[in-house]
């Protein structure tokens, strides 16, 4: 592997809301993961990153994104033979049942609704980061 960015990127965060990004990074910082996060603003950028750069260990994917929606990104990822095992966690404000069902249908590994309450939000995001990067064993390819 050629580390294009040091330190090695482990999480790809796809979110267009800068405030949510800041809060998410703050939550991940509690697990000391914040500096290994790469942030993109929309689905197109996300797909470009995944195509061109090294494979991250986790994708945190919002659903409502400019250009290419989160569900489309998820569908493309699962179609790609190199990426189909990549852990993708949906992190979104939507708790609509059709979104949840569609996300799991397309092969999401988890679906997390962003809590309005910041305390709960902190806990949820840090739990997700800890689980997928520290506890869970994922395939590397």
């Amino acid at each position: 592997m050629t580390p294009a960015i040091a330190p090695e990127v482990e999480i790809l965060l796809v979110d267009d809301d800068p405030h949510d990004v800041k809060l998410t990074l703050r939550a991940l910082d509690q697990q000391h993961l914040a500096n290994r996060v790469h942030v993109v603003q929309d689905g197109e950028e996300a797909l470009e990153y995944l195509r061109d750069m090294a494979r991250p260990r986790l994708v945190l994917l919002d659903l409502k994104l400019p250009k290419v929606s989160g569900l489309e990104v998820l569908a493309k990822v699962r179609e790609d033979p190199k990426l189909k095992t990549l852990p993708v966690v949906i992190l979104t404000s939507s708790r609509e049942e059709p979104d949840v069902a569609r996300a799991y249908d397309l092969g999401a590994n988890s679906y997390i609704v962003k809590p309005v309450d910041f305390e709960q939000f902190l806990r949820a995001v840090s739990d997700v980061g800890m689980y997928w990067l520290l506890i869970n064993q994922s395939p590397t390819t």
Binding site: R26, L63, S94, E96, D99, D117, F118
Partner: protein, 618 residues
């Protein structure tokens, strides 16, 4: 709805519900000619029978008249012959030789008398003539004369009347076929009867002319007979006679195997009768001819009548058939053809009425089709509008869910960051402000969540499955107790709640909201009691949740189930005012009712009705 209407109209399509009627029995087209033929046959037969009877009786009457005439003429003819013979005898009796013979000496016959007797007897065989005295003794006779006078009693008219004569009955001489008769006249001398001149003659000689005459009168076929009144000697003409059957009865009789009409007539001055018989076959032959002709005529008439009936029935049934076909087509939903009957009779009127009816029906059908089309169009438009509204609603929900929550999260998050990262720079009052900001943002998040849950209820389909209400209540109470184990509540749950029909998750939501409310509003009571049960109410059997909490004033009851409606201050009892609205909507969507009964400080009871499940429990 649109497709239902469409299916309903198309399902009545050709021939499904209206089947062509099968005709049972004979058609008019058959019955009419048959009936006409039968009627004509009967009428003709009756007329023919009457005519036949009349003609037959006339023929018989005419035959009878002819017979009577013939019998009378034959009788006159024979009577005249007898009288001529008697006149000849009387002329001879008046000759002086006759009386002289009787008054003269016995045994010496005067030559004149003998000559006269021989002249009377004539050359024919069997003829005998003799002179008798008043003592009935023969004084003189032709050679070998054996004749005898008729009996004394028969002779008396001669004594009274000089012109009288006596004829005896026909007699047969032994077994010989010849028939004889005796005739006597008086011999007078100066007005005094002195004796009798009598002769025996054989019947028949010189009678052929008579037979020819009779034949000419009544025909060759006629049978002529004559004999004694007593019927002991009877002979047919012509003589020489052979033995025949006597014809004495003046009626139709069978003679020698032939049906004959017969008449008899007495012959004046004799003890004889004459009979004439006429065979009926020749008489009735024209009648039979008439009958044959009549039957032929009748057959022809009947055939013509049947033909006329057939043509007539065709004139009637063909329009009827086309009318029936048209009516059946109309009944089957097809377009009926227009009937073209250029007739001014009843059938023409019927056809014209039918045409009018067809037009009306077609118009109505078109109108109906237009209505259906319009309805379908409207339904489709409404459905499209509804779908679009639903899509908008979904988009709205999505926006609310996503876009409203994100800023709220930013508010709470950055408030927290403010407190955490800049605590040293914040005065206590500023810190208080930041807390309020965070708390209100959280509350707004809750409001949004509740509102979304409430709006989602309007879109969820309601299943209708049996629901075990006891299990739902137990689960809700368990959750409530687990969520706040510090609270002490006395639960009074009725043992066997009847099952309901509906969506289990939604019905659980109803109990959850009501029971959570009950727990919340009994918070200030030291020994709270919450009762869950099922009871009869004026609005029907209802489930209920009762508490001993703070209650409320019933004058606000109408605001109870509205969205965001609250009867208590936020600092006393927290909440968004959506819970009871959700209860109301769920119960309404199940077809039930919800209502409350309460008083301030006296607790509250919430009732709701649901369709109950008749079957097993899910």
């Amino acid at each position: 709805v649109a497709t239902n209407v469409l299916e309903h109209t198309t399902s009545r399509a050709p021939g499904n519900t209206v089947s062509r009627t099968r005709q049972r029995g004979l058609s008019i087209r058959t019955k009419l000619p048959l009936g006409v033929a039968l009627l004509v046959t009967l009428a003709s037969a009756a007329i023919t029978a009457a005519a036949y009877n009349r003609v037959e009786s006339m023929a018989l009457q005419s035959a009878s008249d002819r017979l009577i005439g013939a019998a009378t003429q034959v009788s006159d003819l024979l009577g005249r012959t007898v009288r001529q013979r008697a006149t000849a005898l009387q002329q001879a009796a008046r000759t002086p030789a006759m009386a002289g013979t009787l008054s003269g000496a016995i045994g010496v016959p005067p030559a004149a008398a003998v000559a006269t007797l021989n002249a009377l007897a004539g050359p024919a065989a069997g003829g005998q003539v003799a002179i008798f005295d008043t003592q009935r003794d023969m004084k003189m006779g032709t050679n070998g004369a054996t004749l005898q006078l008729p009996e004394q009693g028969l002779l008396s008219p001669i004594a009274a009347d000089r012109s009288a004569f006596v004829v005896g009955p026909l007699v047969r001489d032994g077994d010989r076929p010849e028939i004889f008769y005796t005739m006597a006249v008086g011999i007078f001398e100066e007005e005094r009867l002195v004796g009798y001149l009598a002769e025996r003659r054989m019947v028949g000689t010189g009678q052929n002319a008579t037979v020819d005459l009779i034949s000419a009168l009544i025909g060759e076929e006629a049978k002529l007979t004559f004999g004694n009144v007593a019927g002991d000697v009877w002979t047919p003409f012509p003589v020489p006679p052979v033995t025949g059957s006597p014809v004495l009865r003046p009626a139709v009789t069978v003679v020698d195997g032939r049906t004959m009409a017969a008449r008899v007539a007495p012959i004046a001055g004799t003890p004889w009768v004459t009979g004439v018989a006429l065979p009926l076959a020749p008489v009735l032959a024209p009648l039979r001819e008439f009958l044959r002709g009549a039957i032929t005529t009748i057959t022809v008439i009947v055939c013509l009548a049947a033909l006329a009936g057939w043509v007539g029935s065709r004139r009637i049934t063909m329009p009827l058939n086309s009318l029936t076909d048209a009516a059946e087509a109309l009944a089957a939903g097809d377009s009926a053809p227009r009937l073209d009957l250029s007739r001014s009779d009843e059938l023409g009127r019927l056809a014209s009425s039918f045409n009018t009816m067809t037009e009306r029906v077609t118009e109505s059908r078109h109108a109906l089709q237009r209505s259906v089309d319009e309805l379908e169009h409207r339904v489709a438009a409404r459905t499209a509008a509804l779908e679009s509204a639903n899509k908008e609603l979904e988009a709205f929900s999505y926006s609310v869910s996503h876009d409203l929550r994100a800023p709220l999260r930013a508010v709470t998050g950055f408030a927290k960051i403010l407190v955490e990262d800049h605590a040293a720079k914040l005065e206590p009052s500023a810190r208080e402000c930041v807390d309020v900001i965070a708390e209100r943002a959280r509350h707004m998040g809750q409001l949004i969540d509740d509102l979304l849950a409430f709006s989602r209820l309007g879109r969820t389909a309601i299943a209708h499955q049996p629901v075990d209400m006891n299990r739902l209540v137990r689960r809700v109470i368990d959750d409530v107790v687990r969520a706040d184990s510090s609270r002490v509540v006395n639960w009074d749950v009725q043992a066997a709640l009847p099952p309901a029909t509906g969506e289990p998750a939604l019905l659980q939501q109803v109990f959850a909201n009501l029971i959570q409310n009950a727990v919340k509003f009994t918070r200030t009571r030291p020994d709270a009691v919450i009762t869950v049960g099922f009871t009869a109410t004026p609005r029907g059997a209802a489930y209920f949740v009762r508490d001993t909490g703070v209650g409320f004033d019933m004058k606000y009851a109408d605001r109870l189930f509205g969205v965001f409606q609250r009867l208590h201050a936020q600092q006393d009892f927290e909440g968004t005012g959506v819970g009871l609205a959700i209860v109301h909507r769920i119960v309404a969507r199940h077809g039930g009712e919800v209502w409350a009964d309460a008083a301030p400080g006296q607790g509250a009871t919430f009732y709701f009705t649901l369709p109950t499940a008749p079957g097993e429990i899910a």
